[in-house]
C-alpha cells in the first residue's frame, strides 16, 4: 500500500511541478472550446446545439496531450525497469499511473466544463448531467490511454500514432457521455446512457491495467 501511495504521490508531484504539463491539458481544453464559436458562428442557438459535443470532444483531445509521456519518460531514464522489478505488480503500477493522469488531467476538465458550458450557451438542464457524464467518463479515457501509452513506449515521436490508436477506443465513451448530456438538454431521460457509460468506465478501469501491464512486459522483454 505504501509503495502504491509513493508511486501515486510521485506521479502527481511530477505532473504538478514545472514541465509536468498538468495545466497544459486544461489550457488545451480552454483553447479548443474558444475556437469552436469561430468555426460555427457566434449565434447562441447554434452554439447550444453543439455545446455538448464540443465539450466532450475537447475533453477527449485534451486527455491525449500528456499521454505519450505516461510511460515513455520513465522508460528513457530507466525508472520503468526499476518499477517493473519492484514488488509492486505492474498492473497496479499501470492503474496508479492512469489514476494520476486522471487526477491531473481529467479532473480539472470536469471542473472547468460548467464554466465553458456557459460560454457555449449550454441549456440549463444539461449542466449537472454534462459534469456528471464527464466525471464518470473521463477516468475511462485515462485508463484506455494507458493502454495506448504502454503500446507505444518504445516508439520515438509516438504521439501521433498514439492518437490514432487511442481515439477510436474513445468512441463508445463519447457516444454514451454525449448522449446523456444531450438527452438532458432536450428534456429526455439521461438515465440509460449514463448507466451504460458508468458500466463501460467500470469495465475499462477493471480490465485496462492488465492489458497495459501486458504491453509493458512485452516492451521490456
Amino acid at each position: 500500500m505504501s509503495a502504491g501511495a509513493a508511486v501515486l504521490g510521485r506521479e502527481l508531484r511530477l505532473a504538478l511541478r514545472s514541465g509536468g504539463g498538468a495545466g497544459l491539458g486544461l489550457a488545451f481544453f480552454l483553447i479548443t472550446v474558444l475556437l469552436m464559436p469561430f468555426g460555427v458562428g457566434p449565434e447562441p442557438e447554434k452554439l447550444a446545439t453543439v455545446a455538448v459535443g464540443t465539450l466532450w470532444i475537447a475533453a477527449l483531445l485534451a486527455c491525449l496531450l500528456s499521454l505519450d509521456r505516461l510511460f515513455q519518460a520513465d522508460q528513457e531514464d530507466g525508472t520503468l525497469d526499476i518499477l517493473a522489478l519492484s514488488p509492486l505488480p505492474l498492473e497496479t503500477l499501470v492503474a496508479l499511473k492512469a489514476a494520476a493522469h486522471w487526477l491531473s488531467t481529467g479532473l480539472p476538465l470536469v471542473a472547468a466544463a460548467p464554466l465553458l458550458g456557459i460560454t457555449l450557451n449550454l441549456p440549463a438542464p444539461a449542466f449537472p448531467w454534462l459534469v456528471a457524464s464527464l466525471a464518470i467518463g473521463t477516468p475511462g479515457l485515462s485508463f484506455l490511454g494507458a493502454i495506448g501509452a504502454a503500446l507505444t513506449i518504445g516508439i520515438r515521436r509516438g504521439g501521433l500514432l498514439l492518437s490514432l490508436l487511442v481515439l477510436p477506443l474513445y468512441i463508445p465513451s463519447l457516444i454514451f457521455g454525449a448522449s446523456a448530456a444531450t438527452a438532458a438538454a432536450e428534456g429526455r431521460d439521461p438515465g440509460p446512457a449514463m448507466l451504460l457509460l458508468a458500466g463501460l468506465t467500470l469495465a475499462i478501469v477493471a480490465l485496462a491495467p492488465f492489458v497495459g501491464a501486458a504491453a509493458i512486459r512485452l516492451n521490456l522483454r
Binding site: 507505444t152 518504445g154 509516438g158 500514432l161 490508436l165 477506443l169 463508445p172 463501460l200 512485452l218 522483454r221
Partner: protein, 242 residues
Amino acid sequence: MSLWRYANPAEFMRVSGRVLPVLWALTAACLAIGLGWGFFIAPDDYQQGATVKILFIHVPAALMAINAWLMMLVTSLIWLVRRHHVSALAARAAAPVGATMTVIALLTGAIWGQPMWGTWWAWDPRLTSFFILFVFYLGYIALWEAVDEPDKAADLTSVLCLVGSVFALLSRYAVFFWSQGLHQGPSLSLDRTENVDNAFYWPLLVSIAGFVLLFLSLVLLRTRTEIRARRLRALQEVEARA
C-alpha cells in the same frame, strides 16, 4: 501430422507455393462467373434498376472487411499463445487487404447510395461502424510500421488487435444507441428462408466465394512476401556481423 506442421515457415512456403496457382485460378473463375452473371445475366431490380448490380461487389467486400479482422484476431491469438511466426506475418499480411475491402465497401456503398438514398453518405450505424473499422485497420497497420523489432511489433500489434476487436464490437452496438439506421437489415443467409430473390442470391453467393478466394490468395501471397522479407533481413544481419 497436425495443422501446426504448416506453421513451419519452410513447410508453409512449400505448400502455399503449390496451392497459390490453384487458388488464383479458382478466384478468377468465381469472380468472372459471379460478377459476369450478376452484371450481365441477372435481371435489374424492379425498383432499383441496374444500380442493384454494384451490390455484387459491395456485399462481398463488406463481408471480407469484417472477416479479415476476424482472421487477424485468430492469427494474433495463435501468435500470442504458440508463437508461430507465420501466424503473426499472416495477420500483418491480412491488414491492408482488409482495409482495402473496407474502403471498397464504403465507396461502392456511396456510389449506390447517391441515386438510391439521395446521399453519398449518412451517419447510419452500419456505415459509421465501417468507418470506425477502417480507422482500427489504419492504427493496426501504423503500429506494425512503427516498431522496428519484428517480434516486438508482432506482440504489440496482437495486443492492439485484441483490444481493437473488443472496441470495434462495442462501437458497432454503441452506434445503434446513437443513430437510427438507413441501411437495410440482413437479407442474405445460408440457413434462413427469408432471402433475396434467387435471381440475385446465386450470383451473389458465387461472387462472395470469389471474394473469399481473392482474400485467401492475396493473404497467402503477402505472407510469402513477408516471410521472404524476414529471411532477407536475417541474412543481412548475418552479413553485417561477419
